[in-house]
């Protein structure tokens, strides 16, 4: 590439040269991230999968084996399948509520003309500045049986017994929504911003009211963002750890804490199997939903 003159005289050589150069620079650009992902994700997953086929013996811990007994144990014990379905239910509810709450918010953010737009976006992201644990701790002081809300209501005399807010499924769902909503809003906002306002106006001028416009134009056009946001919040919901532990209390079980619990008990094979079930279920469910939606709105 250095000899431009010769290179121009023989164009094919130059083209190849450039392609080689761009491959090289592409390699430099994506290389480090690839290495980190491979080392930090793929390798552990492989090891984990191998572990999940091992046996667990008290005292000796992990024993080398090739058995599916950990998976069988999970799916035959209603204790574990219940945890799985609770997790699925919570994740689905959270995702649905995030979509319903997030879409209008994202729409307003995308369409607003105010110069405070950046501040508004900042406000949406703000909850993410507070870690899950800190937020949960804050909620405990607020909603606990001796928390601010219950104490105040009892002092006023509206209630005589403290309400059970903490350590319920509702508390966990609310907590996960609080964490996931910003992801949904930001994803939707960027997609809605890409839809020109003119297109909505065209629908209005053709006789579509706001609802018809939403159903026929905005929703299908925002679908890629809706899918992305939904997948993101669903995955985050399925894998929630801190929120179910802190807001759900010891009796409320979800998959994330279950995995960690098994490792704490030094049952690596079973923990690895639960991890794999969680990961596979999340993957299969999002992929299936994605395919179904794409098929329905295929263009």
């Amino acid at each position: 590439m250095a000899q431009t003159v010769t290179a121009t005289a023989t164009p094919p050589a130059r083209v190849e040269d450039e392609r080689g150069g761009s491959l090289l620079s592409a390699g430099v650009l994506i290389g480090p991230a690839t290495v980190i992902v491979a080392m930090g994700l793929l390798l552990p997953i492989c090891i984990l999968f191998r572990y999940s086929l091992n046996q667990f013996k008290p005292r000796v811990m992990m024993v080398e084996a090739f058995t599916l007994e950990n998976y069988v144990k999970f799916f035959t014990d209603p204790y574990y399948t219940n945890i799985f379905f609770t997790t699925l239910k919570v994740a689905l509810i959270c995702t649905a509520i995030c979509l319903v709450l997030g879409f209008p918010l994202a729409y307003v953010l995308a369409r607003t003309q105010t110069r405070f737009k950046n501040i508004l976006i900042m406000l949406v992201v703000l909850p993410l500045f507070v870690g899950n644990a800190v937020r949960a701790a804050g909620w405990m002081t607020l909603f606990g049986s001796k928390g601010f809300l219950n104490v105040t209501l009892m002092d006023i005399g509206i209630i005589s017994e403290p309400m059970q807010i903490m350590f319920t499924e509702g508390a966990v769902i609310a907590g996960i929504i609080a964490v996931n909503l910003p992801y949904m809003v930001l994803t939707l906002q960027s997609v809605i911003e890409g839809i020109e306002r003119n297109i909505e106006e065209a629908a209005f001028s053709l006789g579509a009211g706001p609802f018809a416009m939403f159903r026929r134009v905005l929703w299908p056009m925002a679908l890629p963002g809706i899918i992305a946001g939904t997948i993101l919040t669903f995955i985050l919901g399925m894998n929630a750890y801190a929120t179910p532990v802190l807001l759900g209390g010891p009796k409320f079980k979800m998959m994330g804490p279950l995995v960690f619990g098994q490792f704490q008990l030094n049952n690596w094979p079973f923990g690895a199997a639960v991890s794999f079930i969680l990961m596979s279920a999340t993957l299969v469910l999002t992929a299936t939903a994605n395919i179904l939606i794409q098929r329905r709105y295929r263009r």
Binding site: E196, N198, I199, E201, A202, A203, F204, S205, L206, G207, A208, G209, A212, R216, V217, P220, M221, Y297, R299
Partner: protein, 359 residues
């Protein structure tokens, strides 16, 4: 297809008047063009008619019905946007069918009407395509078909041609005009392109600063501009500043005495159309005004040549001469003579020095 009336329509944003007291009466089937520079309020006026902007004051009547406070989807107005605003996820035929579906037209009726509308814009064979698979000109025609198919009371065109290249634009404007005439559509078009406006309009409205400056036919605007702004915006004018000393006598600031149409005594501007001034290399005869000058600048436009001539008073006039075979080969610094009839100039009283809209 209906009569459209705007009565004293005003739109204010805080202290800013986007539209000031606009009154228009557009009879059924007329093609009216709103013409003006950007920010003159023409687009806001169109959006008030379409229902996207609510007028601060005034009334909009469509076919005698008061639609002032109706939302856009309850007005029967077909709108074509500058960027076409086609639905990218729907096929051409589905785009065109949209307005009919919203009006709950029975299914079996929709297909033939869509086909008919696409045939009108000569796109009958492309119904299955997606908008992004079409050229700009084709997309524009889809937008037109989509706005026509439900038989709107009024067709609104918002700079519909500005995204097309120059050659296509000339074809499409004739097509649109023929189509609206054939269908007897009341049409309002917004544009800043005066050539486009002059070719297509039955009548034109020149707007500036939110107000209507003049409403009339092409001849009205060109031959009898109501004010200095219109004289500068529609066609071109060279303005000479000065004062009317006595009826028919104008004295420029530079000290030239010029014969002009009758007007009241006092400070004024005299507007001269470049193509109405004659130019010769020797002294001219038979003109009310005959002056020597020096060529300052020549711009060769192909069919015409613009010659900027500096008069003895250092004031400048632009003369447009046809590019005829054997015409003078003018260069900067050449001595020339210019002449024009007293009736050529248009007088505007007052020392108002608005924007001279030279192209």
């Amino acid at each position: 297809m209906a009569r459209l009336q705007l009565q004293n329509v005003t739109k204010r944003y805080g202290d800013f008047h986007a539209v000031r007291d606009v009154t228009l009466d557009v009879p059924d089937g007329e093609f009216l063009v709103l013409l003006g520079p950007s920010g003159c309020g023409k687009t806001t006026t169109l959006r008030i008619i379409a229902g996207f902007v609510e007028a601060t004051a005034g009334v909009v009547l469509l076919g005698g019905r008061d639609v002032t406070t109706l939302p856009p989807w309850k007005r029967n107005a077909g709108l074509v946007f500058q960027n076409y605003a086609l639905f990218p996820h729907l096929s051409v035929a589905e785009n065109v069918a949209f307005g009919l579906e919203m009006r709950k037209v029975p299914k079996p009726e929709i297909a033939p009407r869509v086909a008919e509308a696409l045939r009108l814009v000569r796109l009958g064979h492309l119904g299955e395509r997606l908008p992004r698979q079409l050229s700009g000109g084709q997309q524009q025609r889809v937008a037109l078909a989509r706005a026509l198919v439900f038989k709107p009371d009024v067709l609104l065109l918002d700079e519909p041609l500005s995204n097309l290249d120059a050659k296509l634009r000339q074809e499409v404007r004739i097509e649109i005009r023929q189509l609206t005439r054939e269908l007897g559509l009341t049409t309002i078009m917004v544009t800043h392109d005066q050539e486009e406006a002059l070719t297509m309009a039955d009548r034109l409205v020149v707007m500036s600063d939110g107000s209507v400056r003049q409403l009339g036919t092409q001849q009205d605007l060109y031959e009898r501009p109501a004010d200095r702004f219109v004289a500068g915006f529609v066609g071109r004018s060279t303005f000479l500043e000065g004062a009317v000393e006595a009826s028919g006598k104008f004295r420029t600031d530079g000290g030239l005495d010029i014969k002009c149409p009758n007007g009241s005594v006092g400070p004024a501007s005299l507007a001269l159309r470049p193509e109405r001034i004659s130019l010769g290399t020797g002294p001219l005869q038979g003109f009310d005004n005959q002056l020597p000058g020096v060529v300052d600048f020549v711009s060769y436009l192909g069919a015409n040549i613009d010659v900027h001539v500096r008069l003895p008073s250092k004031e400048r006039v632009i003369v447009q001469i046809p590019n005829r075979e054997g015409g003078p080969d003018l260069r900067t610094g050449d001595s020339v003579h210019v002449g024009w009839a007293a009736s050529t100039g248009a007088l505007f009283a007052g020392a108002e020095r608005g924007a001279e809209a030279l192209r």
